[in-house]
Amino acid sequence: MTNEALQSLINSWNPDPITNGLEFTEEKSQFLNITVQPERLHQLMVQLKSNSETNFDYLFCLSGVDWEKEMGVVYHLESTSHRHIIVVKVKTEDRENPTFDTVSDIWPTAEFHEREVFDFFGIKFNNHPNLKRLFLTEEWDGFPLRKDYVDEINMIIK
């Protein structure tokens, strides 16, 4: 399915632009990007996976991103039957306690990826089955991949 067709299809699920809250863009990226409100993330993801025309069954990348003002997660989805790719982004301005819904119930692979994001960005995921630090020790202070993370001993910045 082409990006335009995908965009109109996803828009048609909830045509009301106010409650819909989706932003589409293809600028600065080779894929179609959707930015979604955190509270609508889980519902959109379920639809993307279960709708037979989109059928995004393969979550191939889940990255946490620190956009300085906002914290966010980027989901790269691919459909193994239609072979189209979509990028879903979710952002929040709450840097203290950023929280999104987990997608690990939709794609089990997200369980580990979300733990990694939690470990390095401090982003929490609601309903995650086992949300604890994956790489770092439990007593580690701070979240290293955040832009404002400082470690004067271990980090040398030229």
Partner: protein, 373 residues
């Protein structure tokens, strides 16, 4: 009391055991917390981070040429392919046209890397199920590939042969001849692998029907590479998202539907034949021309987001770069195949014996630095 009552009244408890961080079967510093009932695995919980170097964070302060060097240290057995992934991302972002010669050489070396990685895997796989001799057979053939690499780029393992825009230098004059010699040699040696291990009845009994991963689970858990293809899931990036010179060659995507450890084993063995066929198609047709497209000394990617997938020996490696137009990436994420493949270990190992866990883990072909990036 009859026998069943006695058995039912026996007090039995599950217990925990630490497999690793130093354990022969974990091939590196992976720690698995096993919950075991006698010999039967109840739960596998990986504990990671023993060699995490936070490459993603380091990359945020490095130039794109420097980042290429770091990728060697992730999946060191497919170092060249990792390099290629970053170079391709940068080239795509710059919309740089790479000479055909570069594409072909990259593909040949990538396939040689795949064979080298699979021979090592095969040796270690045999060792994990107790056949110690395989290790040396695998290494015998791998050494020859490493010698070719050494002659061409000076390194045997962490090669760094790619730079954004092309290759660091041209291939060695002997390269074509030695690759052909190797292919001729390996064609006689690969059948030995089957006679030594594949056909062995004990081996087949050990491998068949354990660690079963269905196609649906493979997709849901993000399995890729031979792990996915062993479950009948067509996930070869070389077929679906063609890069480098894979459009110039014909090869089969090896698919098995059983999804057990033996299927994954067979996929890898068969892939070595396919890799040899790819190399044979290209080795006589390396186009003349420059080995490097000119790039600026300081590479600045235009602001935007770039994603590139490649097929390493272990599966799909993704490079996700967010650039703000400076000489460093704003955020760089490596989607490593080992990480996703590890996440399904608990799913397929539960219910098996300790020996099954070891065999299953061997066919997942985990490289720990790839997981602990």
């Amino acid at each position: 009391m009859d026998a069943t009552t006695i058995i039912n009244n026996l007090k039995s408890e599950e217990y925990f055991i630490n497999m690793g961080p130093q354990h022969p079967a974990t091939h590196g510093v992976l720690r698995l917390l096993l919950t075991i009932d006698g010999e039967i695995i109840k739960k596998v919980e990986p504990d990671l981070g023993y060699i995490h170097r936070s490459i993603e964070k380091i990359c945020e302060h490095d130039s794109y040429q420097q980042i290429v060097h770091l990728t060697d240290r992730m999946d060191y057995l497919s170092a060249h392919i990792n390099n290629e992934a970053v170079c391709l991302t940068v080239e795509n972002a710059l919309q740089l046209e790479v000479p055909d010669r570069v594409k072909v050489i990259r593909t040949i070396i990538a396939e040689l890397t795949r064979i080298a990685s699979h021979t090592l895997w095969w040796g270690v796989m045999g060792m994990d199920v107790g056949a110690l001799t395989t290790y040396f057979y695998g290494f015998r053939d791998r050494e020859l590939i490493n010698d070719i690499f050494e002659e061409t780029c000076g390194a045997r393992l962490t090669m760094n042969y790619n730079v954004p825009g092309g290759l660091m230098f041209d291939i060695h004059p002997n390269f074509v001849k030695r690759v052909k010699e190797f292919i001729a040699h390996f064609k006689t040696k690969l059948p030995e692998y089957d006679t030594l291990l594949t056909g062995n009845i004990i081996f087949q009994k050990r491998m068949k029907g354990i660690g079963v991963l269905t196609k649906e689970d493979a997709i849901a858990f993000g399995a890729s590479g031979p792990v996915g293809r062993g479950s009948g899931y067509s996930c070869d990036v070389r077929k679906h998202h063609i890069y480098s010179a894979y459009d110039k060659v014909t090869f089969n995507e090896v698919l098995k539907t059983e999804g057990d450890t033996f299927a994954r084993y067979q996929v890898r063995i068969q892939e070595m034949w396919e890799s040899m066929s790819i190399i044979e198609q290209l080795i006589d047709n390396i186009p003349e021309g420059s080995y490097k497209a000119t790039t600026d000394a300081v590479i600045k990617l235009p602001a935007g987001e770039y994603y590139q997938k490649v097929e390493t020996a272990r599966g799909e490696l993704g490079v996700f770069i967010i650039s703000t137009g400076t000489k460093n990436p704003y955020r760089l994420k490596f989607r490593s195949p080992g990480f996703s493949n590890l996440s399904l270990l608990n799913h397929i190992a539960v219910g098996g014996k300790i020996g099954d866990l070891v065999a299953t883990m061997a066919t997942l072909d985990l490289v720990i630095p790839d997981i602990d990036r």
